[in-house]
Symmetry: none
Subunit: 198 residues, 4 copies
DNA sequence: TATGAATGAGCATTCATTCAT
DNA sequence: AATGAATGAATGCTCATTCAT
């Protein structure tokens, strides 16, 4: 009887190990040897799960994106305003988990400029996130459905991404509070402008 | 007498070649061989100008940051509001030049998470840019000097960076107009909130 | 199960290959590529056994020193005088094996002037050899224990080393017989001086 | 009128510079760049004097051998016994000058194992030195002309070389006094054996 | 399934050498 | 005569990948 190995579980473990290595030492240090060692394996053991390094890295990015989504999926019972704020503030790099996500995202974003496959993954994840935001922007009455809601959502997402990007480089300047304040300021904007008009 | 070579000119040429390679094929492809070939030289020819690869990359980043600054330095006679808009909208990746800058910036940002020297360069450039923005935010009456102006400026920069980041991955969605619209929306925010109170 | 490889055996094989290359073409020619090829391998195959070139060279020297010691270790049942002569005459470069040893030793001696680790290994080996000689010098009644025996031993070792050094460069002049005669002459010296007084 | 440059003087200067670099950092560090810099020149300036690196190194060895000879050439008025002792004790590595000579000699000896030209130079120098020693060994009545004197001289030279070799590696153990004592012991040997028979 | 030995291409870097100036 | 820019081959080393076990 062959040993039963959960392929997906194993892949996730390896992707987690890769993410840890990337966050700790940069994507250049993420050699197969290093990642395998981080996961408690040897190089060759990766092969059944990922045929090439590219596959491992692509899966790692996808796992990071999926995890970000999963972490804040449960907003069913919340008021639209609270849900929107939760959706935008949640991913900020304020704890080790989210910081890991952003570091990994950034590493892959750099790769993506010259790798259409990674770029497509990023784009896809962005569009999903964007439609969630649009939905809540509409539901909370911040903008009319259609282009207005899209622009408004893009502005909000840009604020989140911009803050997160800066925060990665200067945690001293960008305390948790300041990050959240910046996103709240962006939110307040549509409060006072769009909605006051309503 | 040996051939006379303009050291700084040559360095700039090489940094430009490096930037082109990075933008086209990613920072991993920016080996000394590739960069030298892109510049029309052989590997060893780089040595008199950059002793190590690190030096070449650091210079390339610095050159990209400097160029961004230089490109929009002449706002002496403009009204503060126009100058601010120019300062924020100018760097958006709407043409090959600015796109190159952002691609390079992103590549280095990823490296910077594991390279303190590069991180310091990024941080320094950010702080300079931030103080320019603060100055104009104050001059245009969008915020009081001090923390309020700082937060407001950070919000605006975050908007620019966030938009630029997304635009790199989806030039179809993020047309020039849409990028500018998003930044204008962020600007409109302090128009309608802070200034309407005045 | 991976292929089972005897680490020490493989290391010895590689050190032997290195010694052969050094003896044939000089230590400068002993690149990883050359040594690997001499051993019938490719460059990267050395890595599991020697992480760096330094390690390979240090091991090669040590192996050569160890082999010299091992070759003449069995003098248990001999008279002190015979054992001493055996100990001193044995290492002379009179056959391919000992010539190889001396060529390697010389190559490393030159490196050692700018490499403290190699110098320490040489010194250590010398001190061990010296204490063996001292023991037999005393046992054979050629000198009193203490400084007198030390000086006498050093004189004998110097004779051996000096002869070996010259012999490496002029095998025509330094036939096996002449090498042995020179060492015997040095031995005769303490026979006739110190011992005749007894 | 072209600048008058003394070719031989320039070559000697460069060989001295090479010797200093070799003694200080080992022969591997003696690149053309380093040697030129040590002499206060640039790489290309060596070319008119030495077409290749090999030439420079060969000349450096020859210069070191010549200097050793020159340093102790003036023994015209001395008693044969004193002259012999002077000839043997003089080259011992007891001061910076002679230590430099030995370090260089050793470096080249290692190269010589795989370089017939260098080996020939060493052999030639040895034979010259040997004939000087033989002459004085005979003149001082330590041995009959012919094979006996040759063997006796070889024994003495071997003592000197052996002591010098060891002394290079352990200057703590091999003080000036101990080096001289060892050579004197070798000399005493022919005093007490050969000559007492006379 | 998992190992880790082995391959061979690729890297940054060093350097002897050439040569226009 | 002298410079030092440029070449291009070599080096030590890393690493994704393959594969016998």
């Amino acid at each position: 009887m062959p040993k039963v190995v959960d392929l997906d579980q194993r892949r996730s473990d390896l992707a987690d190990a890769a993410a840890r290595v990337i966050a700790r030492q940069g994507i250049d240090a993420a050699s197969l040897r290093t990642v395998a060692a981080e996961a408690g394996w040897t190089t060759g053991a990766l092969v059944p799960y990922f045929a090439t390094k590219r596959e491992l890295l692509a899966f790692t990015l996808q796992a990071s994106l999926d995890r970000r989504r999963a972490r804040h999926a449960d907003r069913a019972g919340m008021a639209p305003d609270d849900a929107l704020r939760d959706l935008l503030v949640g991913p900020l790099p304020t704890d080790p988990d989210t910081t890991l996500h952003w570091t990994v995202t950034l590493a892959f974003a750099a790769q993506a400029s010259s790798d259409p496959e990674l770029a497509a993954m990023q784009r896809e994840a962005y569009l999903q996130f964007r439609s969630s935001v649009i939905e809540l922007v509409v539901a909370s009455g911040r903008a009319e459905p259609g282009d207005q809601a899209a622009v408004e959502s893009e502005r909000l997402i840009a604020a989140v991404n911009g803050v997160a990007l800066q925060a990665l480089f200067d945690r001293d300047l960008w305390t948790d509070e300041r990050q959240i304040a910046a996103v709240d300021a962006a939110l307040a904007c549509s409060d006072s402008s769009s909605r006051s008009r309503a």
